[in-house]
């Protein structure tokens, strides 16, 4: 089973090392990890795709929660959600193949972002299976280089993965 987790973390320097280290240390597999700023300047939002059964997922979630910098974890894949990934592919071209490649770009609603004498660099976003299909159809032409951002995900509708009100308060001791 694949799960897509949205993890809100405090925006501290070591936080990525803490999260990534936790996965390798505990023997959990990460399929993909994407991280960036969130709507709150002090908080980053990570999207982590993990492979594993419910028991593994339970441990992943609990261990992540033990990290002091981790504020909130949502398994968006338990709900209605959208996910996207951005990919850039540099493909070899010859005069004979250029037209065919551009046709594929059209079909997949991809975009050409750089044109070289013997290459085309193409950007495509979408869900995983679309990207995989696009990659597959370009393979015969010769893919020189590919780069993927990793998945980002969001719940559909009014639901969100933002911080709970109760977590915004200061603690008084």
């Amino acid at each position: 089973m694949t799960h897509t987790l949205t993890v809100l973390v405090e925006n501290t320097p070591g936080v990525l090392a803490r999260v990534a280290g936790l996965f390798s240390r505990r023997g959990f597999n990460i399929d993909s990890l994407a991280v960036g700023r969130s709507e709150d300047p002090g908080v980053s939002r990570m999207t982590i795709v993990v492979e594993g059964d419910d028991q593994i997922l339970e441990q992943v979630t609990k261990q992540l929660h033990k990290l002091v910098d981790v504020i909130k974890i949502t398994d968006v894949s338990r709900d209605d959600f959208v996910d996207r990934e951005l990919v850039m592919i540099k493909v070899k071209t010859e005069t004979s193949t250029r037209a065919e490649i551009m046709q594929l770009v059209d079909i997949f609603r991809a975009r050409i972002v750089d044109v070289g004498p013997k290459t085309l660099t193409i950007e495509v976003t979408g869900y995983e299976s679309k990207i995989n299909a696009f990659e597959k159809s370009l393979r015969p032409f010769g893919i020189m280089e590919m780069v993927r951002t990793g998945k980002v995900a969001m719940l559909r509708g009014f639901k969100s993965t933002t911080i709970d009100e109760s977590q915004k308060k200061e603690d008084v001791y």
Binding site: H65, K66, V68, Q167, E170, D171, V172, Y173
Partner: protein, 553 residues
Amino acid sequence: MEITVAEALVRCLEQENVELVFGYPGGAILPVYDALCNSVIKHVLVRHEQGAAHAADGYARMTGRVGVCLATSGPGATNLVTGIANAYMDSVPMVLITGQVSASQIGTDAFQEVDITGITIPVTKHNYLVKDPNQLPQIIRKAFHIASTGRPGPVLIDLPKDVAQAKIKFTYPKNIHLPGYRPTYKGHRAMVSQAGKIIMESNRPVIYAGGGVRIADAAPELRELAETISAPVTNTLMGLGCFPGEHPLFLGMLGLHGTRYANLAVTECDCLIAVGARFDDRVVARIDGFAPGAKIIHIDIDPAEISKNMRADLPIVGDVKRVLEALLPLLKKKKNTEWMARVQAWKKEYPLNYRIDGTLKPQLIIEKIYELTGGDVVVVTDVGQHQMWAAQYYKYKEPRSFITSGGLGTMGFGLPAAIGAQMGAPGQKIILITGDGSIQMTLQELGTAMEQKLPLKIFVMNNRQLGMVRQLQEFYCDKRYIAVNFQYDLDFAALGRVYGMAGYTIETPEQLAEMLPEILAANRPVMVNCLINGEENVLPMVLAGANIGEAID
């Protein structure tokens, strides 16, 4: 008025009511030591930073307060690492402050630079690198809070030298904001009442209690639980002391070197109440053979421990004391007459024992120490066979009367931990049971103990070997002994005298009977070289691959 960050740090420690710190100075931590000159906080100079970490650990286990350590950058910081890992595994609250090269030099492989926050991520509850001088008071406040609440653990703060020298306006924050850190203290009500039902319906309950009981100060509640429902109690190594050793319901320690009757009771029970324990592999052995017919109720403050090693039928996340307080009113007195009879029969049939053959047996030494002290001392141990015998043959009365390295099993823990414990409880009689292997790992701390005038009683169970490993080689390597015998015979009594301690050598049971009263009554430090029989094995023993019910003895 502005003060330096180093001065602010010392003020923060004072605000946290720190009375003493264990440490070792160096260049990068110089400003902090300088600021310490004007403080009421006592500094204990150790002989090696590992000693500082273990001493702070022993202090924390003894007092329940946060142990504090200071060390310099680079080698000072890396020398702490074993001590940090040790505290992390046993959930000991500590704050460790390391000097770091100046912020401007970080990342340049500067002299004595090491990425200690990176190195200690896996072995700290949390750590900080202080970059902004104004953040320091906040960070110290958070560090103490994180170290001492929830499931306790070590927190490290790395302080670059130039940051320590910067000036700030000091106020100690009252409030802190840690949105990602909210321990659960109160057990879920429905779960607690469900647990009450399972317990009342059980006929063969067993309580399996760990170090969490000591940490939560829940020994009285544990006792009330056991007596109310007539459940025998077995302890993990970390839990020893949280249930009275002489209590008729007590089964001693369980697990690989547990008593036969504790292991049998767990194997046969129909309801296992795990309280502040974590189903460690040294306890459980084969997972499918551990309490196979039991409903498992697991009470722990750390949600990640629940169903990590063994699936719990009923998890309750919360502070052990508060959960037990909520649970007790739901229970009625019950007797389990048949079960009690079975358990008592096991106790009679399979007592702990060893062969008496006129040689000096380590088990006998522990028994005699117990006889003479009646359980009114604190026993600190190192790691190895002697540790297991101290766990088996001494009967602990009080929750903080047994201090040992459990999760990490760190040889060399004993002496510095005993120092820390004694510094935390000056009036307390502290007995260190160590091995000739273990004590040589941190032997240098004898200097610290003497300097601090600590009347430690050190019993070296001297078998001229690494007994526990020899035992493993006997069982698992067909007695192909390698690297376990010390060829050089060290006279520990003479060694003690070199340091100014009283030194004794005991070779026979008769000498033991004769000298022990004097040794224990002495109010000066004593080193006892106990020349024990080197053939002895720790028994019972659950062999690799067996269930805990199948121990050999």
